[in-house]
Symmetry: C2
Subunit: 338 residues, 2 copies
């Protein structure tokens, strides 16, 4: 399967017994080549290992036509939905998309920035979860970069996110305004270390203060890790430990779905006994029973803004990092019906 | 951002004022390089556009170190979970992973095979949904290829799948054996054109015959497209049209989740009134209320088998296509409790 870089259009044309122009037409997938001719050219291309649209040509232009999207876990519904949008957008600009999973590990996040793909990609879209701004600054190479999500970005790097504090505040106020008095927050336990949890909990606290609502550290329900299973266990534990609450702001939809299972297992009715709010508006938020009230980030705007900034950087734009916020909605469904 | 292919380790070493060995150590991310030295070398690499682990070197060896996974839609939970496994496995072999969405369109599926990535990838994992075996044979290039899923593969191509007929039969028998008498099948409507639906419906029919159960074409509930929304609409339509059933074999978990919402909307209790079986065992199957009984394909074995065959092809193995089956389990949860 070796593909010597030296094979040329001429070599293919000679082997296939056609003109160079015909080979070029086949390579560009023009429609007006006869099937039998196309088959003969394709056969010569395969036999010689000729590389059309080639890496070689891409190297000559300094572009590879590839971008990477580095994210914690592709199977998390929010990231899967985001990756689908990024893939479609990349396709529209004729970029191929590399997917990199970091599993939220410091080592993998550093490797992404250090340029595991250096020379392979023209640009990088990266949602870090554990790196801080100083580390991002230290490890980033020269590849054009846009950061997604809630982590603090260094002042040199473009960054797109939703206003997490405002959104968490809106979610919490929604529960308080419907008459709930003991609203709990379900999130990661290493509060001070996880940027997203910290921002969302800040919005939760600010709503409680603004509303003069009951506030108790017992109402901060810790999860040992992200995801529906950990959320389910955390909510069952809290209930068994005697924590009483009639509203629950969840870190994301997956944890809300886990929480709803825990509430069902312990005989609580949603929304009568406990109102539940999630975050992300993943597809499944419409198929829980009852449907899940949730923060819906404007994912389309997120991806569009990201590509605009990334393309400007790939086209050579310099200057300090830009920080853009995209909008969100609170989508009210049955899980908080009053 | 041009990166001339001609920049060498020597150039970098000269600009950074260090030895070639030091540059090499930085490129290979050895730990015993002083941070200040690393920073200087990195700066020289960035300024010169040197390409370590380079495409150039990959071209020289005839390998690019990349494989592609082409699938209908990354945001569908089954494919997202599969992509996560493929990504992890690829990482273990030090391959980078390109993701290609086809949206199940004939044009995109042809483009995948024709080698939109030709020269860019060492191998291709492809789950087609509409191409037939003749088209796969016609359009495939010389890139090592393994097909996933239920579509008929040409005899030249490696292919991995679950025995869909046996699994659908097991799902249907499970409902019949628990005393259900009117078991319906929810799937794509263009029955004869969609390979997966055809195989699964075949298993459903064979179970009905074996059990001597009631069989009526009214019990074939068509969806206009795949996914939870279409399933929900289809089941509401069937119920409103007077179709009576006490068991439902669904095309996949997403359609089962849509069906469960339709049943709730129309006042049917799962499992008392209708037992529901899904397919894929996506994460959400454990968080529906009640939990969803489902066919669990052995996804880990699927991915492991795929990589074994792909690597053999990339290492030059010739010979006819191999067809391998991986196992499945019927996972019984509350949606079919008797």
């Amino acid at each position: 399967m070796t593909r010597p870089a030296s094979v040329t259009l001429q070599d293919v044309a000679a082997l296939a017994g056609v003109s160079i122009k015909t080979v070029s037409n086949v390579v560009r997938e023009y429609q007006h080549v006869r099937p039998s001719t196309r088959a003969r050219v394709q056969d010569a291309i395969d036999r010689l290992g000729y590389v059309p649209h080639s890496i070689a040509r891409r190297l000559a232009t300094g572009r590879t036509g590839m971008i990477a999207f580095a994210l914690p876990a592709i199977e998390a519904p929010y990231f899967a939905e985001l990756a689908a949008l990024v893939s479609t957008e990349a396709d529209g600009f004729d970029y191929r998309l590399l997917i990199e999973q970091t599993a939220g590990s410091l080592e993998d996040e550093r490797a992404v920035l250090r340029g595991r793909e250096r020379g392979l990609i023209d640009g990088l879209i990266f949602q870090p979860t554990v790196l801080d701004a100083a580390a991002i600054e230290e490890f980033r190479g020269s590849t054009p970069l846009v950061l997604l999500g809630e982590i603090a970005a260094p002042p040199t790097v473009d960054h797109v996110m939703v206003d997490n504090t405002a959104a968490a505040r809106a979610a919490t106020l929604h529960l308080l305004q419907s008459g709930r008095t003991r609203v709990a927050f379900l999130g990661q336990s290493a509060w001070t270390e996880h940027a997203t949890t910290r921002l969302r909990m800040g919005g939760y606290r600010s709503a409680l203060e603004e509303f003069g609502a009951f506030r108790d550290d017992d109402l901060l329900i810790p999860m040992t890790r992200f995801g529906a299973f950990s959320a389910e266990a955390a909510v069952v534990d809290a209930i068994e430990a005697g924590v009483r609450f009639d509203g629950l702001v969840c870190f994301d939809d997956l944890s809300a779905i886990g929480a709803m299972k825990a509430l069902a297992r312990t005989g609580r009715i949603v929304p009568d006994d406990v109102g539940v709010v999630g975050w992300d508006d993943i597809l499944m938020a419409q198929f829980t029973n009852p449907g899940l009230t949730t923060i819906r980030p404007d994912k389309a705007a997120l991806v569009r803004t990201t590509f605009r900034m990334l393309r400007e950087r790939m086209d050579g734009a310099s200057g300090p990092g830009r920080h853009e916020l995209v909008g969100f909605d609170l989508v009210v469904r049955g899980s908080t019906a009053s």
